[in-house]
């Protein structure tokens, strides 16, 4: 597959109508293609693991995508359709309950000046196997391409879910979030937008950089990591959690991104492929301080009762990333694909 280099001036419209992964996503996809109508209030919520179920997370992902770049072929009026929002709420409830079960919300109170230390504690307690170390030392080209496909579900809209928090903040934490997001959005320069840099990485790996191109290949365990950010970002009551999520995300970024870049160079890839990762080494060294101290600390200074939510949001991120990383590494160690279907070979 060869893909024309993307023109950054073009509208990056989402592509590809996703295939259903079960009854619920089939009903939803069928409905989205026409004008809104009242979806039945008793559609059955899939009974699989709410932290990774394919049908549940595709349905939730599509419900959220209506608020981002849209779902190809969908009638845009579905975005605010009450019956769709009611379904989304039921999916969110199942997901959130499972998150609370997996990661209890039981942190003792933390002072604003200590929140960066508490977040660091969360980062250091994370004993997940290191995907980045694997990529640095031993991943094959095919595995690196799979890694990029997983990440494309988020990186092509990088930073957008956290931007939902902006209107919910004021004063110092708002300024801190803007300081971070300005960088994420390239300081106002299109070609420096982190999502655009990631599209370049996909191109360099001979992958399709169009938004949504690999949705069908990405498993529920990966979609859950993206749905998590939308859940936290779209609910004002979870503003502490989205802040904690961003803080831990930034705090666990510079070092792994350095490893990903070295892994790509080991495999012979050049600047086009590594620019995204190299940029994140430098940018996130700034962001981790701003996010932990100024954003999280600033929010907790204003609203001390949110300290627990901030730490919970961070712990939940670590938990879902660990589950995702395990799934990918387990598959690779078994010589299998980590995606729902393997990719065509590069250059094929």
């Amino acid at each position: 597959m060869l893909h024309a280099a993307p023109d950054t001036a073009q509208l990056r419209e989402p592509v590809g109508t996703p295939a259903p992964r079960g009854e619920l996503s089939a009903v939803l996809l069928g409905a989205l293609s026409g004008p809104p109508f009242a979806l039945p209030a008793d559609l059955e919520i899939p009974g699989g693991d709410p932290l990774s179920d394919d049908d549940l997370h595709l349905a939730l992902y599509l419900a959220y995508e209506l608020h981002y770049r849209g779902v190809p072929g969908a009638d845009e009026r579905w975005e605010w359709d009450p019956s769709l929002l009611a379904l989304r709420a039921r999916l969110e409830e199942r997901f959130e309950r499972a998150l609370v079960e997996a990661v209890p919300c039981d942190d003792p109170p933390v002072a604003p000046d200590e929140i960066d230390l508490a977040l660091r504690g969360v980062a250091e307690a994370d004993r997940g196997r290191s995907l980045s170390a694997y990529v640095e030392r031993e991943a094959t080209v095919e595995q690196v391409r799979e890694f990029a496909v997983h990440r494309s579900a988020y990186q092509l809209k990088e930073a957008d879910p956290h931007s939902w928090a902006l209107p919910r903040l004021s004063g110092p934490p708002k300024a801190a979030l803007v300081e971070i997001q300005a960088d994420e959005y390239g300081g106002g320069r299109t070609e420096r937008i982190h999502a655009e840099l990631f599209a370049r990485t996909l191109d360099a790996l001979d992958l399709d950089s169009r938004y949504g191109a690999y949705l069908d290949r990405v498993p529920g365990v990966t979609l859950a990591t993206v749905n998590l950010m939308s859940l936290f970002g779209l609910h004002r009551r979870l503003r502490g959690a989205i802040v904690g999520h961003l803080a831990l995300f930034e705090m666990s970024s510079s070092v792994p991104n350095g490893r990903y870049a070295r892994g790509l160079r080991r495999l012979g890839f050049g600047e086009d492929a590594t620019a995204f990762f190299d940029e994140h080494v430098v940018a996130d060294a700034v962001h981790e301080q701003v996010a932990a101290v100024d954003l999280a600390g600033g929010l907790v200074r204003q609203e001390p009762a949110l300290a627990g939510d901030v730490l919970w949001g961070a712990r939940v991120l670590a938990e879902l990333e660990r589950r995702w990383g395990d799934r990918v590494l387990d598959a690779w160690e078994a010589g299998a694909t980590s995606l729902r279907r393997p990719l065509a070979n590069a250059g094929a």
């Binding site: 960066d116 230390l117 980062a123 960088d183 300081g187 350095g258 430098v282 700034v286 981790e288 301080q289």
Partner: protein, 74 residues
């Protein structure tokens, strides 16, 4: 940032110095070191692979330093 606002340099606890404001970074020969962003993190643990910038290695080496000034008597 308006021109009259002072440049600030903030030591973050156990981490880098964050520099905010319009600054020019140069090597000792006067050659510019491109910065490319509004806020920069300068390594103060000495272990970064991209000095003078921070690359997060301070966490790996468990660098410890206060955010305020040290008095040299500790």
């Amino acid at each position: 940032m308006p021109e009259h606002a002072p440049v600030t340099i903030t030591p973050y606890r156990d981490g880098p110095l964050l520099v905010r404001g319009p600054v020019q970074l140069e090597d000792m020969h006067g050659n510019p070191i491109p910065v490319g962003r509004e806020t920069v993190a300068l390594c103060r643990c000495g272990k970064s692979r991209i000095r003078p910038f921070c690359d997060g290695t301070h966490k790996v080496v468990r660098f410890r330093a206060p955010t305020g000034a040290e008095d040299g008597r500790g």
